[in-house]
């Protein structure tokens, strides 16, 4: 390849990955040959895009060959700005790899492990007429084998572990009787999957492969000829589908998640145009097939909202007109208070989407745009490449399917905070109202009657704190991502680490856990390893309340002379560039020697313990009793 060809090829892949367009390619042969081409310029591509690529070491353990899969998987990861280093576990040796501390797996030091299972791994299915009790024993034995592997993985340093549930094969030697007898292979695999779900510990993320194979079509998913020739557990043609699913999961685990669905109105949420047809003319009639299609789309969106996806409206309309159906049409499933941000005007959607991101204080790359108008979609695609644009089908009855199959909101976990967040945004409107009433900011803050509870981290707040650390991009001093395992290790090492978290509420809503700080003792320094604050809690004084607590806690460590902070600039945390100086930290010209191995190449700041003054804020301490903890974590809200 001469230099021109290489440059041309580089430009081709830059364009491909820029548009995040790979998921439109579903032909495995084409993708394999694309990878071959890419592999020759891979190094050049990486060095040119070092700043934007996230490096991840990913191990795949499988009882079958995954070599072709790997190539396509790699392409899909690059398509999501992840630079993967892949490790293929030794063939059919998942147990060995996991149980043996000196296995290739651990030498590789993966960030992420995929464990792929196959129904053919199981050699001793229960014979015909096995009793229910014996089937339970059989299932229990397999679960205890998995428990052993899960325990071992828990002590490893791997951040994220995905495990595939069993894909139930299409062939049924017992025919319809497979589901009438508990001893059939189908029933046994279903029971096994069920028990894996029930028993899996928190650090294991299951993947429902049976679901994916069913969506794809089991007859196409399994191809015995492919299996006999290549020993790959699924057909070659299924590779792109699976690579797309897995790459989304990897992206989520690195904090690249979509948080908000931006919706058009006319011919998206209802049939017709509100401005022309009026509130009685738009179609969301449950007795009309087209109206039903729009209603079922609204119903699906409502479920997304209930699981914590924020909803925004972006419509070319007069604002008052656009709100009429929400207020007046009794069939509307979505209500105004489901919408976190409602933008309806005649400005172009590119500007409006920018403004939505700004108002919600989230990145453009966490928005998903759904609009029936292809021209609007093209415009957004071209001018806001960070925004995910859904390729909407012309048929409104297919809206749900299109949105669902895109798997745009494949998060790693759900938390109460995500779900309450959408409420918080609605309460923001109310807050904004009082803010106008108060002439100075201090009296506004006082009027919010904020309360905070700051405490050392325990099991109770763990999953939320892990999520916060992995999802927060703006107020994040060092953007270090930690897994639950990592955090637990720090919690168990209290002589070297202090982990603080803060939970906030005001008179309008309960924000839940919105901030976390990790302090690390390094000789006579307390080093701020992590400081994250959810964007919902900006400008309220939470950072000052936290800092005061940090000072108190640091005093419990012996002989700490100063607190050191590091700011590692990223594309997204510009908002806190000057944060440490506002706390009277002084910039250091050199990295403190003992932080050489810990520092992340950022800007260092320090403050002497004896010079520290407590910061003023307007947040009182929250009084909590054990009952209060209950509602917060068990999910039951008190009146």
């Amino acid at each position: 390849m001469n230099i021109n060809e290489a440059n041309e090829r580089l430009a081709y892949f830059e364009n491909l990955f820029d548009k995040r367009d790979l998921s439109s390619k579903s032909d495995v042969s084409e993708l394999l040959s694309l990878y071959k081409k890419f592999s020759k310029i891979e190094e050049v591509y990486i060095s040119k895009h070092r700043g934007t690529l996230v490096n991840k070491k990913i191990a795949i353990l499988a009882s079958y060959s995954i070599q072709h899969f790997q190539y396509v998987f790699k392409l899909f990861l690059f398509n999501k700005a992840i630079q993967p280093e892949l490790y293929e576990g030794s063939f059919n040796n998942t147990e060995y790899e996991i149980l043996n501390p000196s296995s290739g797996l651990y030498r590789f030091e993966p960030d992420i492990i995929f464990i792929l299972t196959d129904h053919r791994d199981i050699k001793n299915y229960p014979p015909i007429f096995t009793s229910k009790d014996d089937i339970d024993i059989w299932v229990g034995k397999r679960i205890s084998e998995w428990n052993q592997l899960w325990d071992k993985l828990k002590t490893s340093r791997v951040s994220t572990i995905f495990q595939a549930l069993y894909t139930i094969p299409a062939e049924t030697p017992l025919g319809n009787l497979e589901s009438n007898y508990i001893f059939s292979q189908t029933s046994c695999l279903k029971l096994l999957n069920y028990n894996l779900i029930v028993n899996k510990p928190q650090h294991i993320n299951l993947i429902d492969m049976d679901h994916h194979s069913a969506i794809y079509g089991k007859d196409r998913w399994f191809d015995d000829k492919d299996y006999f020739i290549s020993k790959q557990g699924f057909s070659f043609n299924a590779i792109p589908h699976l690579a797309s699913v897995f790459s989304s999961l990897v992206a989520s685990s690195t904090g690249r998640v979509n948080k908000c669905l931006v919706l058009d109105l006319d011919n998206t949420l209802w049939g017709g145009v509100i401005g022309d047809d009026g509130v009685d003319g738009i179609n969301i009639d449950p007795n009309n097939p087209i109206g039903e299609a729009y209603l079922s789309f609204q119903k699906y969106i409502k479920k997304l909202k209930e699981r914590g996806v924020m909803l925004a409206v972006c419509s070319k309309n007069n604002e008052d007109m656009a709100k009429i159906p929400f207020l007046k049409h009794e069939q509307m499933i979505l209500k105004l208070n489901d919408i976190c941000c409602f933008v309806a005007n005649w400005d172009d959607k590119v500007n409006n989407i920018r403004s939505i991101a700004k108002q919600l204080n989230i990145g453009l790359d966490s928005l998903v745009f759904f609009d029936d108008n292809p021209a609007e979609r093209e415009l957004v695609k071209r001018y806001l490449p960070e925004v995910t644009v859904v390729p909407v089908d012309e048929e409104p009855a297919h809206y749900v399917k299109t949105l669902d199959r895109g798997a745009y909101f494949d998060w790693i976990q759900l938390t109460k905070e995500d779900i309450e967040r959408t409420e918080t945004y609605v309460a923001n409107y109310q807050r904004e109202e009082i803010r106008r009433e108060h002439t100075d900011y201090d009296s506004f803050l006082k009027s919010l009657e904020m309360e905070i509870m700051i405490d050392e981290l325990s099991e109770q707040g763990l999953s939320r704190v892990v999520q916060l650390i992995n999802k927060t991009n703006q107020f994040n001093l060092r953007t270090k991502r930690y897994s639950e395992n990592d955090i637990q290790k720090m919690m168990n090492d209290s002589s070297n680490f202090i982990l603080l978290f803060g939970e906030l509420k005001d008179k309008f809503s309960n924000f839940g856990i919105i901030t976390c700080i990790i302090l690390r003792k390094v000789n006579d320094m307390a080093f701020i390893d992590t400081w994250v604050l959810s964007c919902r809690a900006f400008n309220k004084g939470v950072e000052y309340a936290m800092f005061n607590k940090v000072v108190d806690k640091v005093k419990t460590w012996n002989k700490i002379s100063h607190i050191v902070g590091e700011f590692i600039p990223t594309e997204k945390n510009k908002v806190i560039t000057e944060f440490l100086p506002t706390l009277e930290f002084k910039r250091l010209n050199d990295i403190p020697l003992s932080l050489n191995n810990i520092g992340g190449g950022g800007i260092f700041y320090s403050i002497e313990m004896e010079n520290i003054e407590y910061k003023k804020h307007f947040i009182s301490n929250m009084i909590k009793n054990d009952d209060d903890w209950g509602y917060h974590y068990a999910g039951q809200r008190k009146a």
Binding site: D27, V28, S29, L32, S33, K36, K37, K40, Q67, H68, K225, F228, I229, S230, F236
Partner: protein
């Protein structure tokens, strides 16, 4: 027909191995192209199946080892249409 099949097959080889200089010949086997391993062999099969709209039987996969055999197979399949 042999020439046109051979021409199309050559295009596939060049695409799959990402090498424009490949000139295929009947006796050509995996030994003649350094990157032609079992993985690439499967990629080759997938690409040929797609281009010529054929489906190799497992037996064909086992038997076909050189370029000439690919061409013979394809002529037989296309001729039968």
């Amino acid at each position: 027909m042999r020439d046109s099949v051979k021409r199309d097959l050559q295009a596939i080889f060049r695409e799959i191995f990402d090498d424009k200089s490949i000139e295929i010949f009947d006796e050509m086997t995996a030994d003649d192209i350094e990157e032609w391993d079992s993985l690439m062999h499967i990629q080759l099969l997938l690409a040929i199946e797609k281009k010529f709209n054929v489906a190799f039987k497992t037996e064909d996969v086992m038997e076909i080892q050189n370029v000439g055999q690919f061409i013979d197979y394809l002529i037989k399949k296309i001729g039968a249409r």
